[in-house]
Symmetry: D2
Subunit: 357 residues, 4 copies
């Protein structure tokens, strides 16, 4: 499903090194699973679910510190009242389409009732962006079994990007996009930490698109595409999930989440009215096992004074994740004869070369 | 379903007059609908959905200013990111059980797609409390048709309380409770305004319960109940919805929402860890019709300096709504031979009489 | 300056035991200092500053986790943007009068520049309530030397209450009040923890006042006071500071801070429009020494599941602190022949006895 | 004091037209005043106060809707609790240096007591950034008379930029900076609206600086400066004030405030740990006169659906304001033989030309 990645084109965002997979799975214990729905009958569906599972599946009984930021609230992310109250992430994270976010959220709860050895997903975190331009929004293309498959398929290693999972029907800067991921390593006096990011990108107007600072969206030759350009309705959204193995607390995580805004800005985003730009960061460096135990051992945290490289890493990885979601996606035909084109990599590179420093 | 109301016992909370029905429906255009599920086969279900529909059903195209407060975030209320971003309520409000909040949320969206003359419920507001002590939480007792029935049944006039709708399986201060409502009138130099409240009450320990200041929970004779007292697991939650016809803006509404905390405190609540105490207030006094029109005519708002009677009214109506949810509910048998007793009205009154001023 | 305390009247709030001093100073390392200004010339001043100094004076280099809640934002507490960003308290806390909160805030910074062995108070926390009914607000009654004296006088042990420090000119429920404090002990399987509270109380209408649930404000015989009752302008405010030695994190602290609302409600408060009801909680159980060190050792924290006794303790201690501020204060004559009466203890007790359970 | 502006160099940010002065004063009734302190004895001071006064000086009795966003809370802005509670700006806005923000805040209150015909500044809004690298921070260089002079000097028309007022000692991307301003016009079907921005810029590392997308900070020849480059301590801050004459409500304003983040990002900012990046937006299009009047007439507001051009305008004007603060500032010598260099305009233009689209 993944056509390619930004780095395959010779473009590197920022200055920090990536992790092994340049993916959120570079953060130890963070698994990713997808279920992709592409159906032509009875309706045309381009949709799915992506799951991010920290703690190798045990996040329901070994929580992670977490923080949230809404850059523009035209979206849904369930479970946030409890996440903000406690500072904890205590469920897997699902990302899907607008009209089925409730279904996925309910199923996460049901799944945990049936798998209590993995803990309880009391108030699960599930977010959405809108794929209803390409995918029929009537009918119920996704069923519990498929959500379960997404949960069970979660694994470490390289992450499929583009038109997969929750990203199957998504469009970014008017090009076909979807899921993207990236990671960065931070060397410190106390060891190396990893920041991993995964986005479901579905926002923006084509003339806004910047690639590593180059105005690719403005300069692309749109006559090269067969037929007239079809502009999806303005709106769209982006869900950004940031993971780290550093021993951060909830306040650090909320700060990382807000930094996603800068990564978005680097690709050209303004945060338009109908965009649901919701960001969540979690940190696995401390373990929080609440089962009947009042005292939770913590080992350490990091000084706020030393957060700057984490901020840099977040900004770089968010920018690259968005661009990866574009590079990996393939031209997709959807309902009502609509088509969302893949961004042409050669032209992208050609424009970028003129502007690189 | 409604056994009685607090005022039937001769007990009046506070000093302000009530509206005609002493219910949230005293606020012009606010409708309430319930669907109640009581099944014995294949599992024992005590659950349902309650719907609050402002604007006589047209809230999807004539928004209301609204505000939100989380007193304790161990709960779910969808749609809040958008409500906080815009200051608008733009969908009906659903209240149901924890494991089906997603289902109801998704269906609201689907319903609006099929009924676009009523506007669009882009990011619907649906909240929950937990009825899984009395009601089986496996299986899916509620279906789209029933949610639709709740929406279509919404009407003005007296509101059923107690074991109805979303309140069917709820327990408050260890007594059977559920839905409760109340209202207050506020006389001002610019006319009379109404505050209406509806709660789904499902929290508290019996010894905490205060009725109009009287320590009813402490002094009740628990030996009067057949069999040993069954204490539901600590936790529970309360959803509070506050409506007014005053021309308030979102900031006023958020202030009203936070005042629900005081009403809770008057009944004995502390806001324990596992309680999802989420409050939403909306005001219908200005109309917000965004359909393609940049300029939205507003007529007026009220001075913050004059909010105190609105705060008083909110506090009184929240307190009385909680007590009404208790007075109206009937003893209910649920799964696993569990029973939640109705509070005995005569004893309640007898204790109250000793303490009234 | 302290006339007496609530417990001297035989009234105990709640069920939890108090610490040794029943004061915020029961929390190890928390010091309190006051400077009290009572001048008749050139203007009549009833004002002052109260200082709360955690870490035995070293809070500028050994931070404490902290959280904040605004129940009603008609007040000023400086330093909150940074406290919310980091989750840390990193300066002493000053409480003073509205028109000099800036002066005290600036001086804290200057003091720390001159005493860098104690760390840096980068963005100090200083709060206010309004004493301008009794005290002239023109002129500048307080000077740097006096603020310094308050800082240097901070000590452990019993805390003066009533008309001292920042509370010198304050009025609560129309009676003379000011500073009040209380504490509670919480026994847990992992040891005993202390919650200490200090308030500067300056809010409310007399008919609202409840003492341990008894409607003292309504039933007092106001004819007993010489001359007609003088009602201060509606408004006022309350600053609540909550300290604990438990190893809580910032999210726990913010939860404690919000629970102060319930303590206020127990004394009759509604949170009227012009009241600045700002609450801050901090926890000394973990040490945060950021000086050049990226890794901060933490030892442990407590489960959110076990926060309920901390919530109870906070509610009890806030309620008792407010009542202590009333019991300790003495009738005070101020500018323009105004007088704020002390609450008469015998009558208070007489009314309370009728209502106690 | 103003050396020049970005547009004098032929560089235009964005696509929207500017107002007459390309300044915050293009928003009708918004006045700006400065007091600049440059002293050599007894200490070297480079400091001052800038005042933004909406409503031609009557903001104390004719409030404006307002919203706030903290991108990074390492700073102080007083008055925010009340602004967030009500959604109103009700005082002038002061911007000054860290160690005197309290002094300015207190004086605003005192000034309003002496000028009650202009209304009351109950809880004034005063913000700061840190000028203590160039300016001595011991001593008290600013006195009430000077703050009064800043208030009285507030006027419409062109705004002095660079090393004036609160910006006198400020440094941005390691170059001398200070105050900057810009404006944009938004044509709509309901008329033309203006967005005006004023910043006090004091943040960033030189290699981060982008000018209209060009990596000026990276490519400048630093050997051209006499002597070795002096890097101020990392940190700094930026205060952004956004004004509009559109009839926006508080939620719209908060959305504009958060959009300042994108403008910052366009100049290279990340929001480093010790930067106080606090943003406030206000809208004068509705009048809020609370004096004893419960009902406040409003005329209209704008649809959130139509906010995108306002977001664009805010982003453009914030970016240009920051760059104007750099272009206008002159090389400044401060305490301890420190020097902050003006950015050399010819080199800036030369680099920009290579990268412009």
């Amino acid at each position: 499903m993944s056509k390619g990645r930004l780095r395959d084109l010779g473009i590197k965002i920022g200055k920090l090194p990536t992790g092994k997979f340049n993916a959120i799975t570079d953060v130890n214990s963070v698994l990713v699973g997808h279920v992709t729905i592409k159906e032509e009958q009875p309706d045309i569906y381009r949709t799915g679910v992506t799951v991010i599972m920290p703690r190798d599946g045990l996040i329901g009984k070994d929580y992670a510190f977490a923080g949230y930021h809404s850059f523009n609230g035209c979206g849904e992310m369930t479970g946030i009242a409890w996440l903000k109250e406690t500072g904890y992430l205590s469920s897997p994270i699902g990302i899907t389409s607008t009209y089925q976010v409730g279904l996925v959220r309910d199923y996460f709860g049901e799944y945990s009732l049936e798998n209590q050895d993995k803990g309880t997903y009391l108030l699960p975190v599930v977010a959405e962006t809108y794929d209803g331009w390409l995918s029929a929004f009537h009918g119920k293309p996704i069923h519990d079994e498929q959500i379960k498959a997404a949960l069970l398929s979660a694994k470490t290693g390289p992450v499929e990007e583009g038109c997969v999972g929750g990203g199957t029907g998504m469009i970014c800067y008017e090009f076909k996009a979807g899921i993207g991921t990236a990671s960065r390593l931070i060397e410190t006096s106390s060891g190396t930490y990893t920041i991993g990011v995964l986005v479901q990108a579905n926002f923006g107007m084509r003339e806004q698109l910047l690639v590593d600072g180059a105005p690719v969206g403005k300069l692309l030759n749109y006559n090269r595409f067969p037929g007239p350009w079809q502009t999806p309705p303005l709106g769209g959204s982006i869900i950004v999930i940031i993971a780290t193995d550093a021993p951060l607390l909830s306040d650090h995580c909320r700060r990382l989440a807000q930094r996603a805004t800068i990564g978005l800005a680097h690709t050209g985003a303004i945060g338009y009215n109908s965009s649901g730009d919701l960001f969540l960061a979690f940190a696995t460096g401390n373990h929080i096992q609440e089962d009947g135990n009042m005292v939770i051992p913590l080992t350490r945290t990091l000084s706020h004074d030393q957060m700057n490289p984490f901020f840099d890493a977040t900004v770089e990885a968010v920018e690259e994740s968005i661009l990866n979601s574009l590079c990996a996606a393939e031209t997709t035909h959807g309902q009502q004869n609509r088509v969302a084109y893949a961004i042409p990599p050669e032209e992208l590179v050609a424009i970028w070369k003129k502007y690189k420093v």
